[in-house]
């Protein structure tokens, strides 16, 4: 769990639910008693262009609300990966979609790849829950927030009637996340 200050940058393209994922992560942190700030960046073409969410967690005060030296970067597309990898702190974690992200830039960080989109598409038949799968992966690998808090936060935010789907997405995410972490 985050102690001093823990930063995550979640990046992908509009429509992938990246910002929702950021919000859920921050909400999970709040449920777990942490301080949290979530910010975002988007263009006018929010429905297609690049999209980025940043989450900062801490047990204490959070002054600067954006990431400076991210502990984790979740990259859902190659573009996002190329653009934000430099934001990772030394020894940070780059979590990349196994299929979508081609060629990870060199750097002093740990790389974990997981089939996030593929799992959503093939196992869950709903690409739209890739963001929840990603959250599962991210928390499984980083333990940034307790899994119960994360599940609670997911269920509180997803549309009624989709709880079961999202619960499964999260569970699968955690599963592939653990597997990937071991392999890396």
């Amino acid at each position: 769990m985050a102690a001093e200050r823990w930063e995550a940058c979640l990046a992908g393209s509009g429509g992938q639910g990246i910002i929702t994922a950021g919000v859920i992560l921050a909400e999970a942190a709040v449920l777990a008693g942490l301080n949290a700030v979530q910010t975002q960046s988007y263009g006018p073409e929010s429905r297609g262009g690049a999209s980025r969410a940043e989450v900062v967690l801490s047990e204490g005060e959070i002054d600067y609300p954006k990431t400076t030296r991210a502990d984790v970067l979740l990259a859902m597309t190659s573009e996002a990966c190329g653009k934000y990898a430099s934001r990772l702190r030394e020894g940070g974690l780059l979590l990349a979609d196994e299929d979508e992200v081609e060629g990870v830039p060199e750097g002093d960080y740990r790389v974990v790849r997981a089939p996030i989109n593929r799992t959503a598409r093939e196992e869950l038949k709903r690409e739209i829950v890739a963001n929840i799968v990603a959250l599962g992966v991210l928390v499984a690998v980083t333990e940034a927030v307790p899994l119960e808090a994360l599940e609670q936060a997911v269920l509180a935010r997803v549309p009624r009637g989709t709880e079961e789907l999202n619960r499964r997405a999260l569970a699968l995410g955690v599963e592939i996340g653990r597997k990937a972490a071991q392999q890396s």
Binding site: P44, E45, S46, R47, G48, G49
Partner: protein, 276 residues
């Protein structure tokens, strides 16, 4: 595709969403322009702010992307300064009828030679889905979460009452008709106005169970009726239907920029006569 000749292709694909009708309207406008025989470099396209208003950026010709709602006022300046240019305003229903409503009725009143194409999606797309003066009563938007209470304008009727001299309405489903109306509007000497329904699946659609672009096209098909057919229908049958067609066309009113030039020429001739 000949349309590409009129586009700044280096900036494509455009920013519009999946299934957004604005690209279709733009295509229709381009074809009407190409059919008009007017030189590409004699057009000036002017818009306000909104998803639709970005259209002018994609057109490879003189273009002015102004402030929200003010396209017609800027266009009036251009037309009066260079009456020989073909000034075309492309903008959304929010831009033209909400914040820009006053400029619309005054441009129509003056019968200034500007062709206006209203990309009507019944919503503010750019700001993510609030109601516009063209949102039909009862529909849901982010600012009418309980169903919209206001009535929408009959924009064609309003423009006609204000003084517009060519007024027509179509939809992107009826894309060929839309292009035909725009082409007649371009040929018209005076204030010409074409309203084209253009779906916003992202905001109008999703909130109203029509998130699928195809569903929105069906809605356009099913909720409209051609004026010819409408004339033969009972008021009961017409309920909830929007009539498409050409509603007004007159050539009896002088075009404003031309009248102004004539006055200038007359006054200067008189003065020169005096002087001689």
């Amino acid at each position: 595709m000949r349309e590409l000749d009129f586009l700044r292709v280096q900036h494509l694909p455009h920013i519009w969403c999946v299934g957004c009708g604005h690209g279709t309207v733009l295509g229709a406008v381009i074809r009407a322009m190409q059919k008009s025989g007017i030189d590409q470099d004699r057009f000036v396209v002017v818009s306000g702010i909104g998803c639709s208003s970005r259209a002018v950026g994609y057109l490879d010709m003189d273009g002015l992307h102004t402030t929200h709602g003010r396209a017609l006022a800027f266009a009036t300046g251009i037309k009066l300064a260079k009456p020989d240019l073909k000034v075309v305003v492309l903008a959304g229903d929010g831009d033209l009828a909400a914040i820009g409503g006053n400029h619309l009725i005054h441009a129509a009143r003056r019968n200034i030679g500007i062709t206006t194409v209203c990309f009507n999606n019944g919503i503010y797309g750019m700001t993510s889905g609030q109601y516009s003066p063209l949102t039909p009563a009862g529909y849901r938007t982010t600012t009418s979460p309980y169903g919209h209470l206001e009535r929408d304008f009959d924009l064609c009727n309003l423009v006609k009452s204000a003084g517009g001299t060519y007024v027509a309405r179509s939809t992107v489903y009826h894309v060929q008709q839309a292009a035909m109306f725009v082409s007649r509007a371009l040929a018209h000497d005076g204030f010409s106005f074409v309203e084209v329904f253009s779906p916003c699946p992202t905001y109008f659609g999703r909130r109203n169970r029509m998130g699928d672009p195809v569903r929105m096209m069906e809605w356009l098909r099913d909720s409209t009726v051609q004026s010819g057919a409408a004339a033969r229908m009972e008021p009961e049958e017409l309920k909830g239907k929007v009539v498409l067609g050409e509603f007004h066309r007159t050539v009896e009113v002088p075009e404003y920029a031309g009248s102004y030039r004539e006055m200038v020429d007359r006054l200067r001739a008189e003065r020169d006569d005096d002087g001689s």
